[in-house]
Symmetry: C3
Subunit: 296 residues, 3 copies
Amino acid sequence: MAYSTIRYEIDDGIVRLTLNRPERMNAFTVEMCDELVDAYARASQDDGIGAIVVTGEGKAFCAGMDLSVDGNVFGLDETLSPTIEDMRDKLDDPAIHAGVRDTGGRVTLAMYDCLKPIVGAVNGVAVGIGSTMLLPMDFRLASHTARFGFVFGKLGITLEACSSWFLPRIVGLEQALEWGYRADIFDAREALEKKLVRSLHAPDTLMEDACAFARSLVKDRSPQSIALIRQMLWRNSAEPRPIEAHRIESLAVFYTSIADGKEGVRAFREKRPPRFSAKASEMPAFYPWDRPPERG
Amino acid sequence: MAYSTIRYEIDDGIVRLTLNRPERMNAFTVEMCDELVDAYARASQDDGIGAIVVTGEGKAFCAGMDLSVDGNVFGLDETLSPTIEDMRDKLDDPAIHAGVRDTGGRVTLAMYDCLKPIVGAVNGVAVGIGSTMLLPMDFRLASHTARFGFVFGKLGITLEACSSWFLPRIVGLEQALEWGYRADIFDAREALEKKLVRSLHAPDTLMEDACAFARSLVKDRSPQSIALIRQMLWRNSAEPRPIEAHRIESLAVFYTSIADGKEGVRAFREKRPPRFSAKASEMPAFYPWDRPPERG
Amino acid sequence: MAYSTIRYEIDDGIVRLTLNRPERMNAFTVEMCDELVDAYARASQDDGIGAIVVTGEGKAFCAGMDLSVDGNVFGLDETLSPTIEDMRDKLDDPAIHAGVRDTGGRVTLAMYDCLKPIVGAVNGVAVGIGSTMLLPMDFRLASHTARFGFVFGKLGITLEACSSWFLPRIVGLEQALEWGYRADIFDAREALEKKLVRSLHAPDTLMEDACAFARSLVKDRSPQSIALIRQMLWRNSAEPRPIEAHRIESLAVFYTSIADGKEGVRAFREKRPPRFSAKASEMPAFYPWDRPPERG
């Protein structure tokens, strides 16, 4: 897929994913949704890259949904009357997929399924979907000039992009309620204090810092180990009982212990860096372990 | 329903809900349970109000269950032998409802189902059910003189009012375990440090501050948008997978985008405050989305 | 069961559980797994003890899996090809139990099921399973000299011991991801700042402080009340809806209110310490309330 709203550039094992509509403050469109879904799936399967860094071209990160388009600005088919049963049983029906499903959610579910760590480099305004698409990232680094806002309430609509699932996991339920109700723009300092972002950076070193941090996470690591750790933490932690984690972890330790784990133990004994060979594009057969209808 | 243990007063779009047994330090009774359940349901459906502020009459907020009554002080029917199957299948059976179900839980489930933001103005001692009935509130503001305590362990009983579900979500599991085991009274400073309360206030400005904060959350907002944001954050965040949030958010954005969302986008483009008209008493058909037996 | 890798010593109502392979820095083995599972079950049923304090003999707490053994260092049967269905349906099959199930998870599930509060006294290096076996403890106290590390990624394997379930509940998802990826050793100060441990102590007062803290939690408490509070917080808080907590809490209040609750209320009215008599070894019939396949 050729991209027209984003850039996908590989640099020393890292994908730099850049929202690229600077003339529109990188405002989100249905096209950008499709391209981001594709880009995260592509990075998942590309064994040449270890991690993903996401930023925006120009001064903004993403100014939210592009409200200047004609018709339903969210890309929805207003002739439909979708029900909760439709959403449970027909999520992949073409009419539901194109005319009802929240585009932000399609992007964040692709990020949730991603096998590589994702680091945000929030270079400026990140509002609406610009804020909610940050939440499934592993880490959010931000410029001192960044601003954030879950502004949906001001438009009379609601949280989206699975942010009602992700945001309370990151900042707690009370803070999520407050930002949801307030629906205003807040600055990088508040985002740091409330732990929405991990650290603040000077605008001109942000991207460099984010790439260095991303590299530090995956250097000398087994891509299969990294992928499993990411998937296990997001999925297992949300299960109602630890026995569900035990089922998956047992298989994960079993299959990694007879693959990269052998080299890892050898390297540890020989006090040398390991040379791992298992690939994220060739995961053990038990992955993905979610049964329908749990899968995104 | 006429209330004898609480007061329900509307002031400029806010309900002031006051526990009103000051001669008993607003101690909780079965009657107060029934009246609170009614009051939260009433406020949910009253389109004239935007938010709820809860406080206690006199010096105390609520000194806990009234232990001075005769018979089973918790209002339970000791002739029954309820089983876990009864609780799964017969929760609404009159004998179970009246003689087994925890009265505190009946109140907090009504608060959980409430369509309006709830702000606590904790004006003094809040012990036992006085503490646990604070947990499903969106925000807890407290006087410097407030005191708290999950004292059930001192009485040889256990956590109630769904606090085993709510408390860890607010303060974390380790702190919940500590307060549950300690079962002692602690002061407002500890409550603030451990994030049980949002902020401390002078006793004589507490109620004014709480009402102003509550108003700030709902001013110029769509009541349907507010109701959906509240319900989605509590419910979706507890699902095992983000896809469940996606199903609900898609419908929420769909139906709000063709109602108050149109006015919201117009007002945004025209740089003026929106004039929303959708009502919380007329929610879109997909609400409530929980299927039995998930509903409270 | 006689123990050869741990010590189980009762001191004034507290079990001191000591990892006891100091010549190997208390490295974890399959034998230690079996002994720890037995010890936690024993302490659960021993009405003579109120709480458990866990520490390591010598300078280390636990240096992780003993990587010096022959064959599969994790004790796994490499001739098997386990599937996700096996883990769902055959977890207790002898071949799966012995050759596939993660030994760390068997220990932490026994800790999760334990009816007594567990306090860690982390006296030194706690790496790999040495770190993950701390997570189901109620509280972790540590020496200034303690060090921690979720080092699995360095070995090319993954998180285990249900840490993908427990760790995000304690320190949040972002921190869990970071430690999982970094896979390095970090010091007691970082563990304290990130809330992995509750408090730091001088090496020579750590055990005394931990025992005093453990005793303070259970003094004058009903063992049934303590056991139910522990089980309800861990289990109910992870349910998708508070109504599930309500079912269990209703039964817990019902059955404790007609047992130790009567003495508790009497003692409260008479302003004297209660004399509780209900035993953790004789729990009310509704415990355990988890249905298969939810149970660990």
